[in-house]
């Protein structure tokens, strides 16, 4: 059956939607409007960047609604259900409200940092999306330093928090900023080490190549590293159970306490967008991003696979958020420095030693990294390495859990003994001093 040419053109665009739109626009600029090639490319780049930034911000309308709905179900209520179908436009209504509110500048505030802080905060989140690959052909910027770019950009968020905390001239906000620094800075260490695993296994920092080499998702190859990375990421966002930096019941929202109106909305947007962004990064770095069946022939499917993975991860994150109680700051610090970092370091060293030994013993150990080979050959080629690494992970993970449970039991017994000693003091009871005579 012969299809009409317009249908085949549309199908061709649909199979690789981003490249298709790009080419379409290029023909429009160059052939119809007669612009120069270079200018046309710049215009397309600008449109891409604009669309990406808008996607991140508009996506919030959905994710905030989703999060509120899920939290409502967890807490046995309905959640937003008035504005629009299923309350889906609730966030739009909230935005409208915030836009008409007064932006209060507190006394003695330092105005320039005060207004720069939310802008830098949201910038540090949106710009991460430049290195998130959507399909095999579509990525904002396939940098050769993609993984490093992501951690570097997100460390700008720390500056934003410090600026907000300092410029508001409020004790709570300063305290929140300090807590944020102590916690975020600590959790960046397991984050870096967890990020190093995909980089090391792939041999490049380009996000596109990292996804491409995940014939078997790295989470199923290095589950311990994946879980540690995920914990560190949640802490980086400052969500429950790691939300001490804004802990409403302790320091009344922390560093953004003095913000109101749209300045607050921007902070709120940055936080929510960050929560979604880390899910996308987790999906890309440990759950193989756009990888799925037939994605090589129909690149557009990559968006679907990525979307499904991100949504599942996001659901788990929201679920954890509304079921796990907040940890105490000292517990958070102990978890980071005395559990996650040591386990990660041990895992790293053991992995290096055994992986290198296996590479020397097993032939064609790294051949799967070559993207020119056929898919099934690469998939089977990865199996030996996946087996070896999974074995290491299981051993190290079991060892770490064993050590922790043993120490936890000793700690519990110690506290129990102290409590018993308090209730029944040894020896005869001391006479009560009345002080009357």
């Amino acid at each position: 059956m012969e299809l009409p040419p317009i249908v085949t053109t549309i199908l061709a665009i649909l199979t690789d939607v981003f490249t298709g739109i790009n080419d379409l626009l290029m023909t429009l600029w160059v052939d119809t409007l007669g612009l120069s090639e270079q200018l046309a490319m710049s215009i397309n780049t600008f449109i891409g960047a604009f669309a990406l930034a808008n996607f991140v911000l508009l996506n919030l309308i959905l994710t905030i609604w989703f999060e509120r709905k899920v939290s409502a179900r967890v807490q046995d209520r309905f959640g937003p259900n008035r504005v629009g179908p299923w309350g889906i436009l609730q966030t739009v209504a909230d935005l409208g409200k915030l836009l008409t509110k007064e932006i209060i500048i507190p006394t003695n505030a330092d105005i320039v940092p005060f207004f720069l802080a939310p802008l830098i905060g949201v910038l540090s989140v949106i710009t991460i999306w430049a290195v998130v690959p959507f399909t095999p052909t579509a990525i904002g910027a396939d940098l050769s330093v993609g993984a490093l770019y992501f951690v570097a950009v997100s460390s700008l968020g720390l500056t934003a928090i410090l600026m907000a905390g300092w410029s508001s001239n409020n004790k709570y906000s300063v305290l929140g900023a300090f807590r944020a620094v102590a916690m975020l800075v600590s959790y960046e260490v397991p984050l870096f080490l967890g990020l190093m695993i995909p980089v090391m296994l792939t041999g490049t920092m380009s996000m596109q190549a990292i996804v491409d080499s995940q014939l078997i998702a790295y989470f199923f190859v290095m589950p311990v590293a994946g879980l540690i990375f995920w914990t560190a990421m949640i802490a980086e966002v400052g969500r429950q159970p790691f939300d001490v930096l804004e802990a409403e019941s302790e320091i009344v929202a922390g560093y953004n306490i003095e913000y109101s109106g749209f300045a607050f909305a921007i902070f709120y947007a940055a936080e929510w967008a960050h929560g979604f962004t880390i899910c996308a990064l987790m999906a890309v770095l440990y759950f193989a991003g756009w990888r799925g069946p037939f994605v090589e022939t129909i690149p557009t499917l990559g968006i679907v696979y990525l979307g499904v993975k991100v949504l599942v991860i996001y659901f788990i994150q929201v679920w954890a958020r509304f079921t796990v109680p907040r940890l105490r700051l000292d517990h958070i610090m102990n978890l980071c420095w005395k559990f996650l970092v040591p386990v990660m370091l041990v895992l790293l060293v053991v992995t290096i030693v055994i992986d290198k030994a296996a590479a020397a013993l097993i032939p064609n150990y790294l051949a799967y990294l070559n993207p020119d080979l056929p898919y099934f050959q690469r998939l089977t080629g990865m199996l030996p390495r996946a087996g070896v690494l999974l074995f290491i992970n299981v051993i190290v993970g079991a060892g770490a859990l064993l050590a922790v449970s043993r120490q936890g039991r000793a700690e519990r017994e110690r506290i129990e003994a102290l409590r018993l000693a308090e209730i029944e003091p040894a020896g005869p009871m001391a006479p009560i001093e009345t002080g009357a005579d």
Binding site: P113, A152, S155, T159
Partner: protein, 170 residues
């Protein structure tokens, strides 16, 4: 020398770097100075990108903006009495200004005389520059010894500064 589009980011980033540097040395409020330092370091990362040292640019943001600027800000906040200081320059500032002007003039004259004619890089950057860097760092013929010494230096710095900063325990 004809105008090229790459000049715009260069001048923007140079303005960030130099403006931030000026802010560091002349602003009276120390927190502002720290923020200007962050701006300057960010502009420097932009210049590194223009020089196609992308790994160094990322490392610059990570180390300087993510860690050193934060550490400086924390120190300013921990030593809170600084906030009251209004006088920021000492008595010898005119001499200091003169000296730094002389340094600038000397460096500029020497640089322009020696390298004023260099307009183009000699070769493109290799595509796998980060791999080459990694191999060079861990190579016995390359920078293996400085690589290990750097880690020992950082270990020593950590131990030393913890000992110095720690409050005396009973």
């Amino acid at each position: 020398m004809t105008f090229s589009i790459i000049w715009i980011p260069f001048f923007l980033m140079a303005a960030f770097t130099i403006g931030g540097g000026l802010g560091v040395v002349i602003s009276r409020n120390l927190i502002h100075a720290a923020l200007f330092l962050a701006l300057s370091l960010f502009g420097m990362a932009g210049l590194f990108v223009l020089l196609e040292a992308t790994f160094i640019a990322g490392a610059q943001v990570l180390v300087y903006l993510g860690a050193i600027a934060v550490l400086i800000t924390i120190t300013i906040m921990v030593t809170r009495r600084l906030m009251g200081i209004t006088e920021t320059v000492n008595r010898q500032w005119p001499i200091a200004a003169l000296i730094s002007l002389l340094v600038f003039i000397t460096l500029t004259v020497v640089n322009v005389n020696a390298f004023g004619a260099v307009l183009e890089p000699v070769a493109p950057v290799p595509a796998d520059d980060i791999t080459l860097l990694g191999l060079l760092l861990a190579d016995a013929e390359g920078y293996f010894v400085p690589f290990e010494v750097a880690s020992v230096l950082l270990l020593a710095a950590l131990i030393g500064s913890i000992v110095v900063a720690r409050e005396a325990r009973e």
